[in-house]
Structure formats: C-alpha cells, structure tokens
Symmetry: C2
Subunit: 476 residues, 2 copies
C-alpha cells in the first residue's frame, strides 16, 4: 500500500484528474464535476470519462481511463454504485493510485445489495493497488490547486483544515465560515470511510505546513486508538476542534443510515475529549464560531471575563450565560471602578461593576470608550474581555454607517494595544436596512484579525472553550 502522507499529497494536489461518469449536462442548478473544476479554475489536466460523448464541456472525452494516453493522478468516480467495481478495476489497470467515490448506494442504505457492493469494493482495494476516499462523499476542496466540490467556496487559501464525514454539512459550513473571514488550507469530505479514514487524514493534516488549525466532523472511526493518538498529538501544537455526530441514541441511528459508521458510546467519547484535549462542539454553527475563536483569539490565561456591553438585565443574562459556560464574571477592583465612574453616565441600568456599560454603539463612539475598554482589560481580576455592540437597537435614533464604522475602528485599534485578549460581538438585528452595515462592521473587524461573533451566547461559548483549551495546553 502506498504510504499515507504521500498518497494523500497526491489526492490533495493532483496534477491530473479523471472524472469517471463525466456529464455534459452542466447548468446552474446541477453543476457537473467537470463543470465545477473548470469554473473553479482547477490548474491541472481534466480527463472526462464518458462512454458515448466525444467531448464534455469542450474537453476531449474518453470511453475509459484506459483510453487516456497520459498518466492520471486522481479519479473522481461519479457513476451508479453498481458500476463502481468495474471503474475501480479500470483505474488500477491505468495505474491511478487514489480515487474519490462520489456515488452513494453502499452500506449506508442498509440494504443487502449495497452492503454486498461495499464488500466487493473492499476486496478490490485489498490488493493494495488503489486507495479510496468515500464512497458516498464530496471529496476534496483545495483552493490552491483549484479542486473543489462547490464553486461557492473561497478561492483564497487559509490555515484551517477540515476532516469531515459529511459533505452536505460542509456545503453549509464552508461558505458560512468564508463569510466570517475564515479561509481553508485543505478540506476532505470522506463519507463511508471504506478505506482512508479519519486517523490517516488527521495524521496528514498534523504534518501539513499549510494547516495551523483543524476541524473534524466524525461519525465513527475504524481504529479508535489511532484516531485518539492522531488527535492528541496534533492538538498539542495545532488546536483540533471535533464535532462527534451521533453521540445520542437517536443520532447513532441517523449515523448508520448516513455513513454506515458505528457511532461508539458517549462514555468513550467523553474520555476521548478529556484525554486528547480536543475542543468539542455540538453543531456546525458552533463549529464556525469556534474556528473563528481558535484562529483569532490569542492565548487566554484564565477564566475571568470582563464584559463591556449593555448593563441592566442584558448584562445580568450575559453574566449568567458566562457562568453557565464555566467563566467567571468577577467584580472589578475598586480602583478600576473609581476610574470608570469618571467616564460613564449614571443612567438607569448603567453599571461599572462588571458588566460595564460605557456607551459605544449607542450614540456612536462615546467619549472615553477606548479608555474604558483599557481600564477593564488592565484590571488584575480580568483575563479576557468581551465587548458587545448592537447597532440595530440604535440606528433609528440617528446612528448610521459612519458611527458603526467608527465603532469598528475603535475596537480594531484597541485590540492591537490591549494587554489581554479581546473578543467582539456585533449582534445582527432583524432590520434588513441595518443588517448589511452590521455585517460590514463584522467583516472589517474580522479582516483586521479581531475575533468577532454574531451573538453573545456564541462568543461566550467559544471563549470558554478556548480558556479550557489553553488550560490543557499549559498542563502538558
């Protein structure tokens, strides 16, 4: 069998791709694999394989990979499941070392026919002449080579890698993360994991220089110990976020009909997270927030958070949310409070205890906001600061693009000079006239490297998990 990291290097960076079952029916509603590669700007050679058509989307087509005169690195197999074994044998004959089987209809159907077919594929690859990603998956996205399973993904490369058993989930997560300023190094959706499985992928990403952070969505793993070791080792230098799908009873049933994986017990996974120190998330939306945190939030030295936000009941609820997430919201020192009292108005609901209400976002940049932020951050009782602005509450009171932009700038400037990590929340309202401005403010801050979140709850959860992660790292 070809050595893992080398073979995966080929899969992530193929110089040539055969699309077996290349369709010439390429329209906006249902892009073909060839159409996607062309549109996304794949830099290598594409060989469409089609029994009848002489060309596919302007490219010369071949009836079989065996008919292609040049060598081929990688195959995407997009045909009916029953035809897959024959196609695989052709790939082996051609000397293709790794193939992505897009087709579904194997063990995940729960039907005898599908299980038999999966067994047949297993015996074909046992000879060791070809490796498989899939079946029942979307394969690879690598912005550098232009290989993708969705043309909406960013063409810009970044530092986050993904190992995912779900493709549909990635179709949502990646654009969502892109919109939040996240860029990816390499992504793989690997479905039923009939051959290459999570541990090998994690090992690959651990040694991949382009990847600095890793997110894994796994439903089940074939070799639990190898996965455990791979995640543990990677996580010591590159934070690993893991979403384990199918942890509940009902979820494990859904897993079996999705990727035919064995979900494993909740207890085993609890031990896995405790011992590897991997960051556990529960939903794909939460994964995006955690990726933002992992990439942009500097090391947090403790769990004591300073909140600069609306006070009153909003502050009380934020405090409860922090404490439920394992953070502490301590009172600021008397010294800090005396200084804060000089710059905050004594209005209904205002407070200088912590949470602190200084007024940014209400009527644009309140005088003293940057100073207030600094006072809270420098307080010896505080390890990390969360600043919340909610422009939609005030836009009808005369706050507009200028003020929101100004607020974003103050926060960007502050984040560069403050002595401790700063997380920002720009909440999005329901007002379509304002939401665009708020998104732009988020974008601006994310581009400037400020960890920016859309809800107070999401920010708190992400911060608390980073605090825990750094505790783990320091304990090593």
């Amino acid at each position: 069998m070809v050595q893992d990291s080398k073979i995966l290097d080929v899969a992530f960076n193929p110089q040539s791709i055969a699309v077996i079952g290349a369709s010439s029916d390429d329209n906006a509603e249902k892009k073909s694999w060839v159409g996607r590669l062309l549109e996304f700007g794949y830099k290598g050679k594409i060989y469409p394989i089609n029994l009848k058509a002489p060309t596919v989307l302007g490219l010369k087509a071949y009836p079989s990979v065996k008919a292609v005169p040049e060598p081929i690195d990688y195959a995407i197999i997009s045909i009916k499941s029953s035809l897959v074994p024959m196609a695989l044998r052709d790939c082996i004959t051609k000397g293709i070392k790794i193939a992505h089987i897009f087709a579904a209809g194997f063990a995940e159907t729960g039907m005898e026919e599908g299980k038999k077919l999966q067994q047949e594929v297993v015996s074909i690859i046992k000879e060791g002449k070809i490796r498989i990603i899939g079946p029942n998956c979307m394969g690879i996205y690598n912005p550098v080579t232009g290989l993708t399973f969705n043309v909406r993904f960013s063409r810009e490369a970044g530092s986050v890698g993904i190992v995912s058993q779900t493709g549909a989930g990635m179709m949502e997560l990646i654009p969502h993360a892109n919109a939040r300023g996240v860029r990816f190094s390499k992504v793989v959706s690997y479905g039923n994991a009939l051959d290459v499985n999570a541990p090998e992928f994690v090992e690959y990403f651990a040694q991949d220089n382009d990847t600095k952070y890793l997110f894994c969505y796994v439903e089940g793993v074939n070799d639990g110990y190898r996965f455990f070791t791979a995640v543990r080792d990677c996580n010591r230098t590159k934070p690993v976020i893991v979403l384990k799908g199918g942890l509940t009873e009902g979820g494990s049933g859904a897993v079996s009909s999705h990727t035919a994986s064995l979900a494993g017990s909740e207890l085993v996974w609890k031990a896995f997270f405790n011992q590897t120190g991997a960051i556990q998330v529960e939903t794909l939306d939460e994964a995006v927030e955690q990726i933002v945190a992992v990439e942009k939030l500097p090391e947090i030295k403790g769990r004591r958070i300073g909140i600069v936000a609306r006070g009153g009941g909003v502050g009380v609820v934020a405090t409860d949310t922090c404490e439920r997430a394992g953070l502490k919201v301590p009172a600021l020192t008397k010294e800090t409070r005396l200084e804060l009292a000089k710059i905050t108005p004594a209005e209904a609901g205002s407070s200088i205890r912590n949470p602190v209400e200084i007024g940014l976002g209400r009527f644009g940049v309140a005088e003293g906001y940057a100073l207030g932020l600094k006072l809270v951050t420098d307080d010896p009782n505080i390890d990390v600061v969360m600043a919340v602005i909610n422009p939609h509450v005030y836009t009808q009171e005369g706050v507009g693009v200028k003020e929101i932009d100004q607020a974003a700038q103050v926060l960007i400037d502050s984040s560069k000079t403050l002595s401790k990590p700063l997380a920002v929340v720009v909440t999005l309202g329901d007002d379509i006239n304002v939401i665009g401005m708020e998104m732009e403010a988020q974008q601006k801050m994310l581009k400037a490297g400020v960890p920016t979140f859309s809800t107070v709850e999401a920010a708190i959860l992400a911060i608390s998990k980073m605090a825990k992660y750094w505790e783990f790292r320091r304990s090593l």
Copy 2:
C-alpha cells in the same frame, strides 16, 4: 391602598399623563418622554412639568403637577433621584394615584445615599395614597393607548404580555419579537420594584382579556409565595415563559447592582419551575423564539419529532440536538419509508429513515414535497414535524425569490392541512443578497400563523419546551 387590578388598569390605560422633568431637548438621538408620546401617538392628554419652560414641544408646560387645572391619571417622573421625594409629594397632593419613576440612583447603586433615598420613597408611599412603578425602569408600553418607552415598538396590538425587570432588555427584545411577527398586549418594565412587584403584575395579566401569553423577566421577587401562586394559576390557562436573571453566583451579583433585588437560590427556582409548569428560558433571544412557539405552535401530543431537512451529517447533528433537548427522533414505519422511497432521489446523503430529505429548498419546490411532508406527519411514530429550508445554500445555483416564495407557500398550505403541528426553520445565511429574501419568507410564514424559526437549534429547544409544557397541562 387602591385595589391592584384597578390601579394597574389606570397605569396601563391612563387618560392623562404628567411628565415630571419634561425636557424640550428632543432630538433623534435622545428622545424625551414627551417627544416619544407625541411621536408614538398617545391618545390622552399630556402635561409637561418643567420649572422654567412655558411650553415643551408645543404643549403648555406647568411648573408643578399642582399647577395643572385638570385631574391627572398617571405621572412619569424623569428627574434626578434626589428630587423624586418632593415630586412624589406633589403627585399625592394633586391626587395622582400611580407614578412611574424613571430615575435611577436608588438602592441599585449600592451607595448609602441611594439606599436612604429609596427608604424615603418607601415611607412616602406607606401612607397608601400613591403607588409606584420603579424606580430605575422604563415603565409601560401599550400600543392601544399609544403609551411607550420606545418609538420603534409596533403600534399594532397583539396577545403577548410582558412583566420585566429590565428595560434595556425590552428595547432589544420587543423590536426583535416584532420583526418575528409577535405583537404585544401590554408591557411593563418595573426595575427596582420598590412598590408594585412581579406578583401583582402577573395577577393583572392573568385577568387581562387582551393577554393570552405572558413573558416574565424577573431578577428577584419580594413575596415568593405570591409570585409562585400567581404564575402557577396563570400558567394553567395562559402559558407563562419565565427568564430568571441572576440564577448563577456571578449573575446574582449583577442583579444586585442592576435592580438591588435578592436573586434567590438556584434550588428554590428549580422547584418553582417544576411546580408552576412555567416555561424556563435562559436568554432574551431564546425568549423571543419561545414566544413565537407559545403563540403559534398548536398543542404537541408527545416528544417524537419528524425532521424534514437536509440529511447526511446535517441530519445527524439535528438528531443529536433533538435528543439532547429531550425529544425523540424515531425511525419512520416501514410503510412510510416505502411511500417516501417513491418520491425521493437516492443521492449521496439522502435518507428516508428520519431525518427525511425530500429536496425542498434545493431546486425550488421538489415534486412531492407536500406529499412527503404529509407522509412524515401521518406516521404513527411522529407527534410533531420540523421542516428546515436553507435557501442561501442554493441561491447561487439558480434558486431565487420565486422559488423561496413558492417554498414558503407550500409550507403555509401544508401547515393548514397537516394532522399534527408543523414548525418551520428558514435559516439565514451570511449572504446579504439572499438574507432579505429569507427574512421575507419568514415574515410571510409568520403572518400566515406558521411557527417559523431562524435556526435549527432554536426551533428544537422551543419545540421541546412546548412538548414539556403540554405534558404539564395535561397532567393537571
């Protein structure tokens, strides 16, 4: 002392209001109380009280309430806290029966001066000639009379009442709920609760014919047993949602600096929720989702949910989320699955086990979607159905306004004919070009009475709490 419900009737529906400390400085950034009443269209008489100005915003002003020739129902006291006792004595002389003290600077400051001032007010009202809402609060919003503390609130009346110790929180919650199609009967923000407290308000709403559902944000109550009884009794016919602020250690500290309330122990509140059957929420955002559910979701007969959404990993995560929230995601019967197999394509990740993927939202209305929804709903294993559409994932593949609108219409039509409750999720992406369409689809469905949520997690949490609520109601 004037009888509670009668005096609160006056406060919620005053024929005339004196604004003590009426400011003529009315601009977009900081609306005055008089300016708000005028802009919002208050239907009664307004008497601005201002020591120096002869008119305020075009209205004749008076140096004191005592100088007003006509009787006055209600006073809004918006002056420095130190001047409040004198103003209250004037109100008593004038025969005003109830006043809202907007001013802060009482016990919540934690300072001796503030506490003394609060004591002075207490001794003034002990004589029983005047009742107080507040201090340190925003007072009343009643769209019918045109009384409000924020001009952005809807002028349309509805069936949800609010008893809230936070005003700032309501400034966010009410527009948010308005945008989600919720309309309010009457709202009160009552701050420090120096006199009228949560129990009296709840008793008032329980007998108020305009109110069918109640949301309470409380930090502490003076008379725990009376509050318990009031909520328990109300909740038997009108669902009561309660957000208890300051349940955590840090939160209770924040409470004392917000409204000087005693937060009470977590254990006591746990018993409170168990015994009253009130629906507990933890954040203001969650409160909005729960209000939508309480108002629009019909009685749920059990905890078994059918999910019609993306399958694959997205379905696995949704299933886990359901089970964590106490719902069950059972496999559908063989009969249902055979019928579903006829209308769903066997693609990668598609599933007919539950969650079921039928394809709406992907390429517009898939043929058979309404039928599929009906099949899932009619399955004997299912009590409630959640349908999820996420148009932003597909808009770049040719799905536009027309398809999204069509999808909304299918869901509206289905919700009217299905045999069991249907909840819909329209997830909002990060694409500013699509988010407007998605919000419009949400609006359209909410207007048609379909319980519509913005995230799968929010919908699941709200549904699970309604299932629990109805179990409680049926156990009575």
